[in-house]
Symmetry: C2
Subunit: 326 residues, 2 copies
């Protein structure tokens, strides 16, 4: 990974990125191409985690790890490139319903995770170990070592997140959500330290409710973020989410389904907001919220576009940080 | 599986077979070709079980299940036919030492087991469920639902069984063995019921120490066995074990390394003893122990030879049972 910066530092100080699934992982990968490990930490949502087929699966952590290691599937928003499904095929022959796809390489990682958790390591320690095995040197920090599980409230009743997201393909209406286990959870020590040391914070283009939301719900996290220069990158472009149910959820929550809606949702946390060029007409309204808008091409089609967006985001953060510090 | 008997019943009443690894599984498969599920239960050693790579692995149970389902590897004494190793290959790339080979199909079974154990099912219930998924209808009964773990005592210290057996390829001298967890273990309810209902018991050609030994060590098992007509099939032929370290262990325990040594070891349990034709010269000495010898070709090279030996064994047991009952 190229972390050199021929033009000098992309950002002076430490950056913390908050990320959920694929959009967040892409920007995190872009940032990791620009900043060395000591300058970039990535805090990852664990609300999607679940136990399945005897494994402990952490979809967002794995998506971030696989993207940073550049072993992610090039098209689908999860899993590994060049993947096979021998285990799942056999499990299916043995009567298992394969509604949650698990590739063989993916399972290898889940097994290593499981064996380390069984041995008493925390999720933070396990993730650090797995990252190293994948050659990922940037800190990838699970938001908490205590289980927090996103539960979607629908007209059919409550559903664990993966049930809603994968098995039901986000079809049911989201009336609301709750985070089971939140009362007993706290941000991990590594997360707390990273946030305290941060000179700038980036809310990656992930789902505001189910990806960034659980991280923000942990005690103290909102306070740390409000005390630091923070920008968000809109996961909504032209009124749509590139991936996932963010737009559908916003609509069901009675919010404006647009980048502006996201800016409003984050209004008390952020000083800057990155909009796609398709949404440049919303910049003035973002400004009226007291948030500095920044318009750029925010779609990351490949590795160099990830790097390009990360460059823009860091320049914007640098500029805002300077403005705030003055 | 052909369980019909054109010549009438192969055995009148219920048979219980005690089995460990591959030799036991082969004879169990032969017996299962002759007796219907209600007439044959197989009690399987769990002393070899261990947790590894986040999985709960039960090598003897799986060898019996795979043989009864006829999906076992045709040559090696473990695992599945037509197996691939995608997961283990990836785990190895991620730094895992693959000293214990686990195929993808095998892992599918281990994952199903793990998820059911996690859900609170007993090993007996889980094994019954897995058997059904594999189309195995004969009761395959783990000896105990409590963990009993064989530990080999060597000049280098104690070693968990798989460490000794697989990683160290049985190289260290066995000074002795102990069964960790035995004090808290009991024969499962299903095992107790099967032994109580048995009209005849067969000690399969498995390792007397580490395969049959742990089953015999459970409280009450020896008493049930001594109260029933019981025969053993020698795992030693011509002074050698067909598979595994039985001969080496006998030598290290100061025993005669021969079928006679096995007959002596089981002397207080059995009324009959099956010897291979290669050992016919030992029949007279077996008789002198007060045990009825039965000489036959006991090598099971294929499915029909398993069936053939099982036929002979059942005929012998029937004959002995009649003699005992008179």
């Amino acid at each position: 990974m190229d972390v050199s910066n021929p033009q000098g530092s992309w950002f002076d100080g430490k950056v913390v990125a908050l990320a959920g699934g694929v959009g967040g992982a892409k920007l995190a990968h872009g940032l990791a191409q620009l900043l060395p490990p000591e300058q970039l930490s990535i805090i990852v949502n664990t609300g999607d985690d679940f136990e399945h087929l005897g494994l402990m699966i952490c979809p967002d952590i794995d998506t971030v790890l696989y993207n940073l290691a550049e072993v992610n599937h090039p098209v689908q928003g999860w899993g590994r490139a060049n993947e096979s499904f021998r285990v799942l095929e056999e499990a299916q022959r043995l009567g298992h319903d394969p509604w949650f796809l698990l590739g063989d390489k993916d399972i290898a990682l889940h097994l290593l995770r499981r064996s380390m958790l069984d041995a008493g390591l925390s999720l933070t320690e396990v993730t650090r170990n797995l990252a190293r095995r994948l050659g990922v040197w940037h800190p990838v920090l699970p938001m908490s070592d205590q289980p927090v599980r996103t539960v979607i409230i629908t007209p059919e009743g409550e559903m664990p997140f993966q049930e809603y997201f994968v098995r039901r393909r986000t079809k049911p209406t989201m009336l609301g959500m709750r985070l089971a286990g939140l009362h007993a959870a706290r941000a991990s020590k590594s997360v707390q330290e990273a946030l305290q040391a941060a000179d700038g914070i980036i809310l990656c283009p992930s789902n505001p409710f189910v990806s960034i939301g659980p991280i923000l719900s942990l005690p103290g996290v909102r306070e740390w973020i409000t005390s630091k220069p923070t920008i968000a990158v809109s996961p909504i472009i032209g009124g749509q989410a590139l991936k996932g149910p963010a737009a559908k959820m916003m609509k069901e929550q009675g919010m404006a389904v647009s980048a502006l809606g996201v800016a409003q949702y984050y209004a008390d946390l952020i000083e800057g907001f990155v909009l796609d060029e398709a949404d440049s007409s919303l910049a003035a309204e973002v400004k009226r919220l007291g948030i500095t808008p920044f318009v750029t091409d925010s779609i990351m089609r490949n590795k160099s576009e990830r790097r390009r967006l990360a460059t823009k985001v860091l320049q914007f953060l640098k500029q805002l940080t300077g403005a705030i510090e003055v």
